[in-house]
């Protein structure tokens, strides 16, 4: 299967309409496609625990039982963003349900039934705000019609609230008591559905606690590793230490001698290129429990052919990449004539920026349970961001039809892009087949850090030309990093248009001469996407450089950027790009690149953080702004020195324009967490390779910030907006990184040209 890079390619708008089909005939058709679905069609009757419960299910996301249970399907994966709450609450609000009594059920992987389930690229709310509202509103229309029919009143006199229909005369009836009637009604025409006015929402635009809040606090929430099945075994795998390494031979005698170890199985790896959805070559120890499997793995004796990557050094490659940026590259964007600007320069400022490989280090390491049954079907339980891809990858690996793979989605103990890839799910499936029993594969933390799909290391060189009047007249940005595409195709040596659209070729400022170039680099490991992807290194370089240019010009960096936005407009980059502009999969006419909104967040953050006063009073504050995933974010970070010289972060301010804010509490939590995530990228984390092997083993080598070093206060200032909602999972990260670097410069007097700072 062709790897899916959700944020890198345009999404088919047809996909969206498929997920909401307001006609009974189509619904039944869709419903009959579903394998093992739990929502029955309008004309079905199902037996509930109390006997004959009947169900009204106007679409795949929603059902109402005659015993008043409202069930809403969460079809996208919960990895900490709150999406399992935020989408269902949209349905509930339009429906007029009693939110405190709504039951949320996680959908299994089935895109034919539910539409796009690939939880990635910060687009869940963006894509499903409208369909979810329609799903709720359609049901509301039908319930109102049913009540009006029952009471013999005009439907306009009825409203839905707190799980009941209320007549203006005071009569009330619970949704459940209307099920019998409403089931017989025709689905209304989509054109006749009116959505509620924004001001009348009770959930949308408010702080809504996550559905799993209590379950998590009492230890009852079920993550991937928490699935138990009768007769299950646990597998721990020794994987190729170097990408492309092959097992020559192995001796499992000592492993099998360990009590509890039952079996040792070789997993055939994909070699080079490693692929995005294939397991690595390895030898698995399958045991009664995790501890036995771990000890068994330690006792394996494996002889490896380490292959062509065995001498790979990431530092050596990084220096070569840096070197390459001084020459001419492949031009990816051109405006004006940079060379002539350079020739007429008053001053040329040239700086280079290096950033390392980063691992996702989700707190829950990859894990998946598979139960391969003798009849050629397989049931999976996995913390996957992309259940349909996992389903297809498993089917391919087992040589069965994907319709025979049932993909249950658990809670994810963090995702950040790692759990989009189905390699660990495929491992579980292969091992279950070999063991003829349910097998849960468990990655250790060492496995996770050694065998991730890393955020690529990068080298960048930026030349900024100031003309004789001191104006920024030329911008030449060179970027080089192994491309995500290289994980599936070794011939991909340049970053894709999609990767460049993340904070590089979308440079939004009014500079007359721009040239953006890329250089070749090879992937010697698996490259993937990490929370905000190449925005991480691009935003770092671009915004640190702009801060430095402002300083050299002797102007305030906030004023400098505002000045370079000139008058408000929609950017198209037309005629300047050598490839496509992805715009995160959305057409520019629907989601324009609007400089007024960028200006808005810059002005807001400067005002809320008292930027000018902070500077005047000598605080070490840094500023940066970065639009990513169609959300506009400006950030001001303050740093200070702790008692033993460590960098502390007393305060962070974000100004955010994500259009309509659906669940404002979860928007804030994403920014609070995003600041902390980004602080680790700035301060502590890096993955390096020597002799082809990752050198960091656990959290002592790959360090994350801990509470004492984390930002102490993070203020989130939301721009009030009625624009279409856009996502907030990734956008907190990009501007924080350079804002913090610029703040550290104020504190130490040293510019940061290489991440991480402590590294």
């Amino acid at each position: 299967m062709i790897p899916k890079l959700p944020f890198l390619k345009s999404k088919d708008p047809e996909d969206k309409s498929k997920v909401f089909i307001p006609s009974r005939r189509d619904f039944l058709k869709i419903s009959s496609l579903a394998t093992g679905g739990f929502l029955l069609g309008v004309n079905f009757q199902c037996s509930g625990p109390k006997g004959n419960t009947i169900t009204f299910a106007p679409n795949v996301y929603l059902s109402i039982d005659s015993d008043n249970l409202v069930t809403i399907i969460a079809h996208r994966s919960e990895m900490g963003t709150g999406i399992r709450t935020s989408l269902p609450m949209i349905v509930a609000d339009e429906l007029g349900a009693d939110w405190t009594k709504v039951k949320i059920v996680q959908a299994e992987g089935d895109e034919e039934k539910y539409g796009d389930q690939n939880t990635d690229g910060s687009y869940s709310v963006r894509m499903f705000y409208e369909p979810m509202r329609r799903a709720g509103a359609t049901a509301r229309h039908m319930l109102l019609a049913a009540a009006a029919q029952k009471w013999g009143v005009d439907v306009s006199e009825c409203r839905a609230e707190d799980g009941q229909v209320i007549h203006s005369g005071g009569k009330k009836i619970k949704f459940g008591d209307l099920v019998e009637i409403v089931r017989e009604l025709e689905m209304p025409n989509a054109d006749n559905i009116t959505l509620k006015d924004f001001s009348s929402y009770k959930l949308i635009g408010k702080d809504v606690a996550i559905y799993d809040n209590l379950d998590i606090a009492i230890g009852k929430a079920t993550f991937g590793a928490d699935i138990d099945l009768p007769n299950m075994q646990v597998a721990i795998v020794k994987r190729s230490p170097v990408i492309g390494a092959k097992v020559i031979s192995y001796n499992d005698a000592k492993a099998l001698a360990i009590p509890g170890v039952n079996r040792v199985v070789k997993i055939e790896g994909s070699g080079i290129p490693p692929g995005l959805d294939k397991p690595l070559e390895g030898v698995a120890v399958i045991a009664d429990n995790t501890w036995a499997a771990m000890k068994g793995r330690d006792a394996l004796e494996i002889e490896w052919d380490l292959g062509p990557n065995q001498n790979y050094s990431s530092e050596k490659q990084l220096q070569e990449m840096l070197q390459s940026t001084s020459g001419n590259g492949k031009v990816r964007r051109e405006r004006g004539n940079f060379n002539s600007a350079r020739q007429q320069a008053g001053q040329v400022i040239e700086k280079t920026y290096l950033a390392p490989f980063y691992a996702h280090a989700t707190m829950e390491p990859p894990t998946a349970m598979a139960d391969y049954k003798g009849d050629g079907t397989c049931e999976i339980w996995a913390p996957t961001q992309h259940p349909q891809w996992a389903r297809q990858a498993v089917a391919e690996a087992l040589g069965i039809d994907y319709q025979n793979v049932k993909m249950n989605v658990t809670l994810l103990g963090g995702g950040f892009g790692r759990k989009s890839k189905p390699d660990f799910v495929v491992e579980a499936a292969l091992l279950s087949k070999a063991a003829k029993s349910p097998v849960r594969v468990q990655w250790t933390r060492e496995d996770d850090l050694h065998h991730d799909f890393y955020h690529a290391q990068s080298a960048q060189r930026i030349r900024a030309v100031l003309d004789k009047n001191g104006n920024l007249s030329g911008w030449n940005h060179h970027t080089v990093f192994p491309a995500i595409g290289a994980t599936g195709n070794s011939d991909e040596l340049h970053p894709s248009d999609g990767e460049l659209g993340l904070g590089c070729i979308d440079f939004p400022y009014e500079v007359p001469h721009i040239r953006i170039e890329t250089h070749e680099s090879k992937a010697h490991t698996r490259i993937g996407w990490l929370r905000s992807v190449s925005n991480i290194h691009h935003s770092f370089a671009v915004n640190c450089m702009l801060d430095e240019v402002a300083e050299i010009k002797g102007v305030d960096p906030v004023d400098f950027l505002l000045g370079m936005l000139a008058e408000d407009k929609n950017l198209t980059f037309e005629g300047e790009l050598k490839g496509d502009f992805g715009n995160y999969g959305e057409p520019l006419d629907k989601f324009p690149w609007n400089t007024r909104r960028l200006r808005g967040v810059i002005e807001k953050v400067a005002k809320e953080a008292n930027w000018k006063q902070a500077i005047a009073s000598g605080k070490s504050v840094g500023f940066a702004v970065q639009k990513s995933f169609l959300t506009y974010v400006a950030c001001i970070v303050e740093v200070e020195k702790g008692n033993n010289g460590q960098i502390l972060i007393p305060e962070v301010h974000y100004a955010v324009d994500c259009g309509i804010g659906v669940n404002t509490d979860r928007i804030r939590s994403q920014f609070e967490g995003g600041a902390q995530f980004a602080a680790s990228l700035v301060l502590t984390s890096a993955i390096t390779f020597e002799n082809g092997k990752v050198q960091q083993n656990n959290f002592d080598g790959y360090e994350l910030i801990r509470m004492p070093q984390a930002p102490k206060k993070t203020h989130i200032h939301l721009v009030e907006s009625m624009e279409k909602p856009t996502g907030v999972g990734e956008p907190p990260v990009p501007p924080f990184i350079p804002a913090m670097c610029n703040a550290i410069y104020k504190l130490t007097g040293k510019r940061i040209y290489r991440l991480p700072y402590n590294g």
């Binding site: 998590i216 606090a217 501890w291 707190m363 103990g413 609070e672 902390q676």
Partner: protein
């Protein structure tokens, strides 16, 4: 294999396991108490934190043979009806994001308040420094501990 009698959440439990098996795996794999999580196996992240008598320990590196007669409390036994002040504060502040680290955070915070019912912010930070949260819920964890400490 050896037999051990453990007191877990006030209940006596017999297990027959290898003596070097860390308590974490006894809880998760043998007794099916899944609230205690695996994050690193090296006492570096705190996801596996449980109470041994009143003290927070990292169960991933604590061999079952060393438990002896000391009482073990896991998140499942922290309270009846989720009414431990820490749990109530957690719910009030909507602390979790993915939630995976949270049971370890909660157990560590419970031990902190037991020995220091009115911790300062700095004391909270240093007491919680062993518990990682990749999602970045540190601000709310701190606020929740401060809220809970009011009922001590």
């Amino acid at each position: 294999m050896e037999k051990f009698t453990l007191i877990i959440n006030g209940k006596k439990q017999q297990v027959e396991v290898e003596p070097d098996m860390p308590l974490l795996w006894v809880l998760r794999d043998i007794l099916s108490l899944k609230g205690t999580k695996y994050g690193c196996g090296q006492a570096l992240c705190g996801a596996c934190t449980v109470l041994l008598d009143d003290e927070a320990i990292r169960s991933c590196t604590f061999p079952v043979s060393e438990v002896g007669s000391q009482k073990i409390t896991t998140v499942e036994g922290l309270s009846k009806d989720a009414n431990h002040p820490i749990q109530k504060a957690w719910v009030e502040h909507v602390v979790p994001q993915c939630g995976y680290c949270q049971t370890g955070q909660i157990m560590n915070a419970a031990a902190l308040l037991k020995r220091n019912p009115k911790p300062s912010e700095a004391e909270i930070e240093s007491a919680m420094a062993g518990n990682l949260c990749r999602c970045g819920t540190y601000n709310r964890i701190k606020e929740a501990i401060l809220t809970a400490s009011k009922s001590y």
